[in-house]
């Protein structure tokens, strides 16, 4: 077994301290660690870059934290097949640099790319503004290898994009928050780096106007890479990004600008620095605040999301930010509340509004006081019993990230 070192304060997960930390240098060492944990009945949680540890509930108890940071190799990159196999602890930005040298990218852009690891991104289902066109890890993952709670090494999917052999373990691990097994390598399909990119913004749109822009984009058969409503201290703005070949991007920019008058809106085309600043603000919105939440709702409900969820959150969490992708129906809000009681009240109100729309609100970060009054996941989903049965099959002793997931899984 890899040597364990005694845990320090910074190894805690949401205030729950492990006794030991393992930092395996190879997949083989990680397997050894998992076998040791199985033999000694140790409860274990996995940490990559630690950028999304606030997602979910605190662990019910913890003996070992397994850090994947040294499992950071690109195992295989085949530019002509547009796939990459990477070890779980590889930071996204490092991966993107390798891929960019071949004119390719992984079309996932969650925040903290320098620290967020590919395994962690998969486990936490982290995503960014390019979700509009490219979806989430679920849409890009094609293979995965892992170590089960009992130390058995297994693999699902493969190295080709098109493959329906066997049950879909890779997608099942997306968003499973380390409760089913340790992800050791992930295989993704890749996309070409776009030749051109352009961002247009609308200042101070209402929710209804943001919705009208989505409908107009669709009716005009445009193909945006990102659509995001960004609400911050300076008021809301809407950003639309096009990516592709030069002529295609130029034409889409012209077409969208031309739609402005009918919508009663003005689309401003940002220059390179302006676009960079806009998406940097977007990232800031995703990552600032002591309390952060993920929002989901049917995309057409953007106005109701602003009114029923973002409104109360901006009030109750103190001055902060929110983003919502009115094309995909997913967003974020955050702030640093001065008063726990009103923060919890705002969270409850926002959750009720989203659930009523058929959506959800889950915690992505919160101090202990807020967590005491507000469940990270909310009411268990309809299929919770099947989820419990799944967890019981993969981890019968309940040793992997116990209590972190929905319904106390």
């Amino acid at each position: 077994m890899t040597p364990l070192r005694p845990a320090q304060a910074e190894d805690s997960i949401l205030g729950v301290a492990p006794r030991w930390v393992a930092e395996p240098a190879t997949v083989e060492e990680a397997v050894e660690t998992m076998r040791g944990c199985a033999r000694d009945r140790q409860r274990v949680a996995f940490v990559g870059g630690g950028t999304d540890l606030g997602v979910g509930a605190p662990p019910a108890g913890l003996d070992v934290v397994l850090r994947t940071g040294k499992l950071a190799r690109v195992v295989e990159h085949s530019p002509s097949d547009q796939i990459v196999v990477a070890e779980a602890g590889l930071p996204l930005a490092a991966l993107q640099r390798t891929l960019a040298a071949h004119g390719q990218r992984l079309a996932l852009d969650p925040p903290f790319a320098e620290r967020a690891t590919v395994g962690g991104i998969v486990a936490a289902n982290a995503f960014g503004p390019r979700r509009t066109r490219h979806g989430t890890a679920r849409d890009l993952i094609i293979g995965l290898s892992m170590v089960r709670a009992d130390g058995v090494v297994a693999r699902g999917g493969g190295k080709v994009v098109k493959n329906v052999a066997g049950f879909d373990l890779p997608r099942l691990f997306v968003g499973s928050l380390g409760t089913l097994g340790l992800i050791t390598t992930v295989t993704f399909r890749l996309h070409p780096l776009p030749e051109a990119s352009a961002t247009m913004t609308v200042a101070r749109p209402t929710g209804a106007q943001a919705r009208a822009v989505v409908v107009a984009l669709r009716e005009a058969q445009l193909d945006p890479a990102s659509v995001t409503l960004l609400a911050g201290p300076d008021g809301p703005s809407l950003g639309v990004r096009f990516e592709g070949f030069g002529p295609g991007v130029r034409q889409q920019v012209e077409r969208l600008a031309g739609l402005g008058p009918a919508l009663g809106l003005r689309f401003d085309l940002l220059d390179g620095a302006g676009a960079e600043a806009f998406w940097a603000r977007h990232e800031l919105a995703r990552t600032s605040g002591a309390v952060r939440v993920r929002l989901a709702a049917p995309p057409s409900a953007v106005a109701a999301v602003l009114e029923g969820a973002v409104g109360p959150l901006t009030g109750g969490l103190g001055p902060g930010w929110a983003t919502f992708d009115p094309w995909a129906g997913a967003g974020f809000a955050g702030g640093t509340p001065t008063d726990t009681g009103s923060a919890v009240e705002a969270l409850n109100r926002a959750r009720r509004a989203l659930v009523a729309l058929g959506g959800s609100l889950t915690l992505a970060a919160a101090p202990p006081g807020v967590r005491t009054g507000f469940d990270a996941w909310g009411a268990p989903p309809a299929a919770i019993e099947v989820m419990r049965r799944l967890k019981a099959r993969f981890d019968p002793e309940g040793r992997l990230a116990p209590g972190r997931f929905v319904g106390g899984i």
């Binding site: 994009v161 098109k162 493959n163 329906v164 052999a165 049950f167 879909d168 099947v386």
Partner: protein, 490 residues
Amino acid sequence: MPEAHVDAETRELARQLAAVVGEAHCISDPAELSVYECDGLSHGRVRPRLVVLPGSTEEVVQVVRLARAAGVPIVPRGSGTGLSGGARPTTGSVVVVLSRMRRVLEVDLEDGWVRLEPGVINLDVTRAVQGRGWYYAPDPSSQSICSIGGNVAENSGGAHCLKYGFTVNHVLGARLVLDGGEVVDLGGPAPDTPGYDLLAALVGSEGMLGIVTEITLRLLRKPEATRTFLATFPSSDEAGDAVSGIIAAGILPAAIEMMDTLAIQAAKAATGLAWPEVGSILLMDVDGPLAEVEHTAASAIEIARRAGALEVSVPKDEEERQLMWKGRKSAFAAVGRISPNYMVEDGVIPRSEIARVLREIGRMAAEAGLRVANVFHAGDGNLHPLVLYDARNPGEEDRAVRLGGDILRLCVRLGGSITGEHGVGAEKAAYMADMFSPEDLETMALVRCAFDPDARFNPGKVFPTPRLCGERPGPYRPHPAEVAGLAERW
């Protein structure tokens, strides 16, 4: 077990099932049962015990409960067009045919989805919304007859999944009837339902987790423009180079299809198309916003020419375009025109290996004394070798089966897969062990056990060795059959 006893048991089950679905929808007559002995894969027929055609989720629940009480396996079935024997009955099973459940329940173009029953035919989804400029993207070649329920079971693809993804990328929600008769709803119109992505596990599970009785599908707005071209090449080497060049140029076509000489001959015989009998044909679609499409189509054509295309033709109108696609989509059936019998294979290789693999398949075919026609989705390396044979010649069918297996193993050796879209079913379960370790298979089976611990649904498919789930998770307890030495434990 004495025959008369089985019959009495079956008669009683038939009576109970008929009380649920109606006499007309419960089939026990041997001649009528024979229709359901196989799906699109016609060899290895098994006659089911009974066939029922329920008309609602409630009826499915009752059917499942009755089958469970009788200890009888259930094989779900859609249109029966699958090519891997996924809907082939298990001995003694009740086949549950979902084709009567074919209502489109709700269309929401605000959020771009449709909720429907599993028996709805794939192409009918697009037909229901195309008047308003929308469509359903996955387009298996059988789309005019295959059902959405079957597409969900097999995670069906199609030519255009290169750009648009597979069924799993387009299913937003599903209603599932489990072995205990419980009804669970997964997913929905809002993204990111908290919890495990059970929907992703369900799509492509080949009918082994339960019976899907409702499905919510994502619809897409039709692209503004589509440009199609057909390029001919002296051999698949140049065609393969063209595909690699197009991908390397950063172009993501909606589809790139490749056919070799034999497949071209077959398609011509079936459709009367005036294609030249060259070494290889590429048929390609690019779609999206107009300027993007014009730019990428022009680049792709230039790349094809540089790679050695003999001729590049662009359809003059939509009718001619549809005809080109008809030639491609009818290729499987068309092979029947040039050979008394044939087997459709479905392997995947890394795209960059196309030319090498085709040469190798040619060599293997020559060695086996057989012909192989190749039709495939070149953009994602999904090969459909059609192994031609004449069953009247002694030993030829066996040689064809062996050659098919050897081709799949070649795909695995090169880092590919034994199936890109047809599923494992009954036909390819034996090859799963070439692609996955016992531990991989055992782990996949954990998913099966979580949903269906008694292996009620479609037993004997996908996994090479039938095994039992532990009775319940937790401390190890030997299963009675294991004690009796009849089975291994998971």
